[in-house]
Amino acid sequence: MADLRAGDRIAMFELLVGAKHLPPEDTFDRFRRLCFAGIPDTAGIRQRAWMLLLGHLPFGDRARWPAVLRERREVYFGFVGDLITPPTEEELALCAAQLRDESPTAQRNPKWDRYVEEMTLVDQIDMDVRRTLPDLSFFQMPVPPSALSPLTVPADVEVVDADGAGAGDTSAPPTHGFQPLPGRRGLFDRIVAFKRDDDFGARSRASGKATARGTTSSANGDGGGSGGGGGAGDSPRRGGDLHWEAIERILYIFAKLNPGIGYVQGMNEILGPLYYVLATNPAEEWRAHAEPDAFFLFTALMSEFRDHFIRHLDNVASPRYSKLSVPSTASLESLSMAAADDAEHANETGIGESMNRLMRKLARVDPELHQNLNHKRISPVFFSFRWISVLFTQEFPLPDVIRIWDAVFADIAEDIVGAESLQAEHLDSSLALDGRAGASGTAGVDDAAGMVLVAGGGGRREHKFEFVIDFACAMMTSVRRELLEGAFGDNIKLLQQYPLQDVDALVGKAWEYHVMGPDQGPQRLDFGDMIKRSSMQAFRRAAMGMSSAAMGVSSAASIASAGFGQALRDRGTQEPQAEREGGPRPVFDLGMFTRPFAGAKGGRRRGMRRRRP
């Protein structure tokens, strides 16, 4: 039997994300297709898969991976060195003066104002990261110490020999000895200085107060956070960072490097799962670099979605139900005073337009529901703003979010990596300051450190991140009966507190909409088109939460194997047999890869996620 079993599927993934050499032709699309159906939770696969989908690692040029990873990490350490600084004498003096002054408004000096503005940014980030994924204890835990990164190396450790720790994974970068970055907690010290005290108590736990207080007494007590590591801890080692502090640094550095975007609430929700996936990798040589790697993945994601975070592109006046079904727009226009002005400059990329796309899609796939909601005046802003802007992170538990993102990333890989740049060139262009940064004219350039800028507007296809729209649409149609029956208030509550659903079924439904293509324009000859005929049903079976693992996996396999070659051959000729229950499934072409599957057993696991009760 030619079915791809769970173990084989994992093995295949392991090859795709780990093999030293792959034949270049059409492998990336095969890989994307597999990711759509869900990346295995097996250790270490997803993180590399995401790196590939988001263009962090060049899919085709594996020899460069170690160098790429190392270079980028060093770039990040450079940012930490340059941008994360302890409070200056001047800042401390300002704070002290402010403390003495009983009425803060009495006399303001411009320096203080500038300082306050800067610290307001920091404070906002600080407030939000503390509350990232609060259902998990993970972010409150210390970052395990590792000598592989200057961000995590205990301060008392001597330079470590290069290959001491890393073993196993051949694609892991060679490790280097690192001196700890002494100032990496400087940002937190600044917050302590600014805020005077700390409602949460967390800052004082591991932070700058110690420097003032002297450190002798705490040599034993503070090690609690870091746990491992040799050597008698001496003063600078005040326990490691907590995970939420690591993402705080990332967000601050991102905001500094991209002043046109800055920090917007919700960015922490997007960064959280990225960081989580990287930082829970059991392999130390990867885990130790979760912070720099997450920074780059986050930057890549923001290059796709940055327009959702830019206020002047919001164009929220215009989200509405499509003209198609609402000829009399007057009543809707009246919902938004600013409509007249904004509509003329309707922005094609901001969050408002994305919500419009959702409504257009809904009008197409479920006109009745569309019209019903319209009559009840349920504006898409009331629910889909959050869905779309923070990529469903608020609506689903983390494992589901991660599963949804597998598909979202597989889709946007087309924008980010593109079909034509599967080889090496791609990488440099995203690292360097390239011309695309100016495309939408909003990303600023920081002269000092303008290395990693979000380059927006350079999407290769017209309808970026279409799958996000498709998925949001599936969320709506999946509760259509309740929506049709409910009144305004019930509807909003339902959509805002989205009921638990089988997330694979949702992805499957979204996939159905996805292969329909975007609302207008020429038929795309793309990924969706290619495989729609051959494996649409197979995908749905796979995605619709098969109770039997074998079934799910064999369906996934047929997606994989019905891939380009097969699909192209079948296109337009006949319904491929794979669609029929029990029909013979195409054989997976083992010759594609450098190693046979038989030799790469990855342990048997169920291929699809469990169904929710």
Binding site: S328, S331, L335, H375
Partner: protein, 208 residues
Amino acid sequence: MRGGRKALLKVIILGDSGVGKTSLMNQYVNNKFSTQYKATIGADFLTKEVLVEERSVTMQIWDTAGQERFQSLGVAFYRGADCCALVYDVNNVKSFENLDSWRDEFLLQANPRDPENFPFVVIGNKVDVEESKRQVTQKRAMAWCQQKGNIPYFETSAKEGINVEQAFFTIAKNSLKQEADVELYSDFPDPIKIDGDTSVAKSAGCEC
């Protein structure tokens, strides 16, 4: 139709990020406080049934996001509001100073018929925090409220559940009163305000 209608009040909660809007709303609706609320993205929606002067009223409360970036959403949320609660943190003077712009922004975007008399309520939250941290005195806050047309003022703690019920009861009462006033002066049914379905005369032409 209007007579038998169940009263539905739309309430908007505004104020800087972190002043405790979400906490207040959850304290009021669910009698709960948690330090785990995430930052609000967009706006959250909750409802609560209340009895005001022997009338059963459904409050639809929109808890909005505080960060400035989200203010462009106001257009969608403010319109048709019956009452607006302006929240600040008594331990954060900046959040108090921003009340002016929150109020202006609301009036601009909601465009109520009678902006002079639109019912606001001001809430100074987090009074449970130790006195030494307090940055805005009651006197100063009340002076501001006075100056803006005698806005009712409450000092609350979402954490301890202090004064929350009272503040929201006043919100309900004043929005009802406002509604009554409007009814008094208009002999034509208000097209925007309450039951969305019935009001959209213009959408009658909607086919497909």
